[in-house]
């Protein structure tokens, strides 16, 4: 790319952060687009929160630069940045009412009282807290606190809203609901959201793009579908969803195709294009296949491109789904297969001999 595109709202170039001898971030390069829902996903300690705090201005990078809206942010403190944060603990001011909390930043901007009241009212409506402005901070439930924190950021009309694990303190039902609400709010407002989360499902549901981080580095930056279907490394593959790894080696190579021998499944030819860019095919020692890409074949009418015999070693019934652990030929670990419990499909007990169907196009290759 020649020039910085106008719709790049945040540009991170070679951002590093060291705490003493500990290297928290090791050279982050990423561009976040205006109006995008962008997630930083990774296990705890991967540096995602550190990166978010540096975008917010609570920390400075050790080296490298962050620019927001084409302006370099070095030396600009958090109170002067066009970003607002929804804190993990929500950080609701305990001595103020809901309305005073939401209007806190507008008061700093010295807006007239009437205007503040109007803006606060609009923001509270947006997060479904209509009429709760007079409540004290201590009279709120967890979900309401989360909404107040969000309204407090929205009311500032920032370029970017930063969310630090905003849903981690909520129970499952509320979290699922908030994920959908946050996503639709973000889409209707068109504000850039940057979400930090360790929950891969949350990231997949909400994001336009996700940066998966391990040990201070971005392992893969892609769309949710891209991450799930084409994880570049085994680590990303097992972090996003469930992945079966099968030992395999390269046995033939053409210009546009690779032939692999998979211990459990036999020979297969796949297009070279499914391999991550820069992969040396000779180095392949395993391939991946998702649980839903494997099928436990019930009878002769159940067909698949290819099939292989196996033995069920464990059955877990989830209601809508059944998860089988199936031992395939060879001495690899059992593979996990997920089956939707559609009409007429019975749940097979442990010990059953079954045929497992699969297809060549569901094979995933890793770096």
């Amino acid at each position: 790319m020649a020039a910085i595109e106008t719709n790049d709202i945040i540009v991170l170039s070679d951002v590093t952060k060291a705490f003493g001898t500990f290297q928290a971030l090791k050279g982050i390069n990423a561009t976040i687009q205006e109006g995008e829902f962008f997630s930083l996903l990774g296990p705890s300690g991967c540096g995602k929160t550190t990166l978010l705090r540096m975008i917010a201005g609570f920390d400075e990078p050790t080296t490298g630069s962050i620019s927001i809206d084409d302006k370099p942010m070095a030396g600009i403190s958090a109170n002067k940045r066009p970003t607002n944060m929804v804190f993990q603990s929500y950080a609701i001011f305990p001595h103020l009412t809901v309305a005073e909390n939401v209007g806190y930043g507008l008061k700093t901007r010295k807006l007239p009282k009437k205007e503040i009241a109007a803006e606060v009212g609009k923001a509270l409506d947006m997060v479904d807290l209509h009429g709760l402005g007079h409540r004290g901070a201590h009279e709120l439930s967890g979900g309401q606190r989360q909404r107040v924190a969000l309204a407090r950021a929205l009311v500032m009309k920032p370029k970017v809203i930063l969310l630090d694990e905003p849903l981690s303190a909520l129970d499952k039902k509320l979290r699922d609901q908030m994920q959908v609400e946050l996503r639709s709010l973000q889409q209707s407002l068109g504000i850039t959201f940057i979400l930090v989360t360790h929950d891969q499902e949350e990231a997949l549901i909400m994001s336009d793009r996700i940066a998966v981080m391990f040990e201070g580095e971005i392992a893969q930056l892609d769309t949710p579908e891209g991450l799930y279907r084409r994880p570049r490394t085994k680590r990303v593959a097992s972090f996003i969803g469930v992945m079966n790894f099968l030992s395999a080696k390269l046995t033939g190579e053409k210009d546009d195709a690779l032939t692999l021998t998979i211990d459990a499944l036999g020979d297969v030819t796949v297009p070279r294009s499914i391999a991550p860019i820069g992969l040396d095919p000779a180095g392949i020692d395993a391939v991946g296949i998702r649980p839903e890409m494997l099928t436990v074949l019930m009878d002769e009418t159940d067909t698949a491109e290819r099939s292989v015999k196996g033995t069920i070693t464990a059955t877990s019934y989830y209601g809508d789904m059944t998860y089988y652990d199936v031992q395939l030929p060879g001495d690899g670990a059992p593979v996990t297969i997920s089956m939707r419990n559609t009409a007429g499909r019975s749940v097979l007990p442990q010990g059953s001999e079954v045929s497992v169907g699969w297809g060549a196009d569901s094979i995933v290759l890793f770096e």
Binding site: F87, F93, T108, R109
Partner: protein, 288 residues
Amino acid sequence: MGVTLDKEARQGLTLLSPAALYALLMLAAPLAMVVTFSFWTQNYLDIDTTPTLDNYREAWSKPIYQVLMFRSLRISLTVTVVTVLLAFPIAYYISFHVKQRKALWLFLITVPFWTSYLLRVFLWKVILGFNGVLNTALMQVGLIDEPLTFILYNANAVVLTLAHAWAPFAILPIFVALEKIDRSLLEAAEDLGDGPVRQFFRVTLPLAMPGVIAATLIVLIPTVGDFITPRLVGGTDGLMIANMIQIQFGKANNAPLGAALAISSMVIVASISLLIYFAGKKFGGKVE
């Protein structure tokens, strides 16, 4: 009555009762005696137990008692303001800027308690006296030609000595209140546009208010009734109401008047304390 207490309530009562009993015997009973005394009359050798308000009339109308009471309040309020204003930055520093050795700092603050209070008051005499450390030093440096006299045997000396003595008691509650402040609240304030000064006045100070109120009351209440310090460093115009109460119970042999003075002073201090408490609560908002 057939009231049955659940296990937790009984446990609570058991834990409370030694202290409650002690307070009842050593505080409530003597207090009741003092109140009773204040309605009696002292005749030369015996006491007339006919209830009367004469003691109170005297305590509230005679100029000498008014002067002493006002002076006590003035000195005590000055001590409180000076102490809390000095204590706050120290507590703030330990809470916000000391990273690893907080315990050591708090320990150092208690160092003055290692010597007796009386000894510390005498030390101030040595420092502030006519030929004291301060005057000698200032004269040798050449800053003054003759010893300063306004620093000992007056109200200033009482303020100085009391403020020094009570500082640790003010630092600790403020420190605790500051420690309890969730640091992410300050980040939230910064994120919403506030610089350090506005953050302090809009978040830190209101949330530290419970500690500031506690410190204010802890210093104010006992210093109004202090009588050792004014006796030792106060001279004649540094005497306070407690000195007069002591005189009434002792040399003047008028325990009922002393009792009336004591009760009056108690009521005044209690009213001021309540006032400060509610004013502080209002400023601090609805902090749990």
